[in-house]
Symmetry: C2
Subunit: 146 residues, 2 copies
Amino acid sequence: MIKPKPQTVAAWTSLVSANRVLLETIEDALKRADLPPLSWYDALLEIERAEPGGIRPFELKERLLLPQYGMSRLLDRMARAGLVDRDDAEDDGRGQVVRLTPKGRTTRQAMWPVYAGVLTRRIEPHFTDAEAAELARLLQRLGGGR
Amino acid sequence: MIKPKPQTVAAWTSLVSANRVLLETIEDALKRADLPPLSWYDALLEIERAEPGGIRPFELKERLLLPQYGMSRLLDRMARAGLVDRDDAEDDGRGQVVRLTPKGRTTRQAMWPVYAGVLTRRIEPHFTDAEAAELARLLQRLGGGR
DNA sequence: CCAATATAGATGCAGTTGCATTCACATGAG
DNA sequence: CTCATGTGAATGCAACTGCATCTATATTGG
């Protein structure tokens, strides 16, 4: 019979809780500022980083850990909102290249202070610099990287 | 202009990643074992802990950090699946008392080894006991407890 | 007691997600 | 070249979530 150590269970439950609470705080803040949800931020940032060549949806989904259909629909919504352009890929008739529109760029820039504000206010007061670094180091072992 | 420390951002992004990866692994394992999703486990456990008196949905939603409508619907589904009973509360005409059915109890018991197995295999190899405890300790400061 | 307000829980609707499948183009073996 | 197989992306459908609202009972102030 498998029996995890108490520390293991404690680490997992506190991880889930922390994630939930922080996520909710961030989504709330974005909503109150009349900005798109957090998932859009991550996508916008990743697309911006891929400038000026743009990025293929299948690369994006790997970096964001989204399922293929999730990526497809997220891009749909962002395109409908005028934040990204999807053009057919020159060199692959099946695929596309995604790029930010100017509005996409400004939207990401508008989201950052809200996002950063929550992170700063909700994380930094609880840790010394060394503790935060240690926390990041430990957590990185769980996610496989990124 | 708000500018979080790099450690803060690193801690947050690795937290999100770790959460996503582990959650997905657990849900996958449960699905492959033909068992209900993880959210049911948490609810079943909390209800079981409240035996024999049962628990009120509004208490449950607070312990599980779910919105009221989320709790209401989760209980709907679990009741439809025959895992819980909802009876009118004796002392409060507005409310109910939730209890496990025998099937609810066995289902929770069936889920645990799958859940525990993933936790053990995906967490314990990466940490010493002290590290796991330290991780839990640091994370607890973020979620406000639980 | 009555009216005003608060709390427990359900629900209609729109938007999102998961799953499975589909379509189109790409690639490699013969 | 041609067929079989693989890969990039979209989509129909059912389930789930968020939001706002609604109903019913409880509580409080007068």
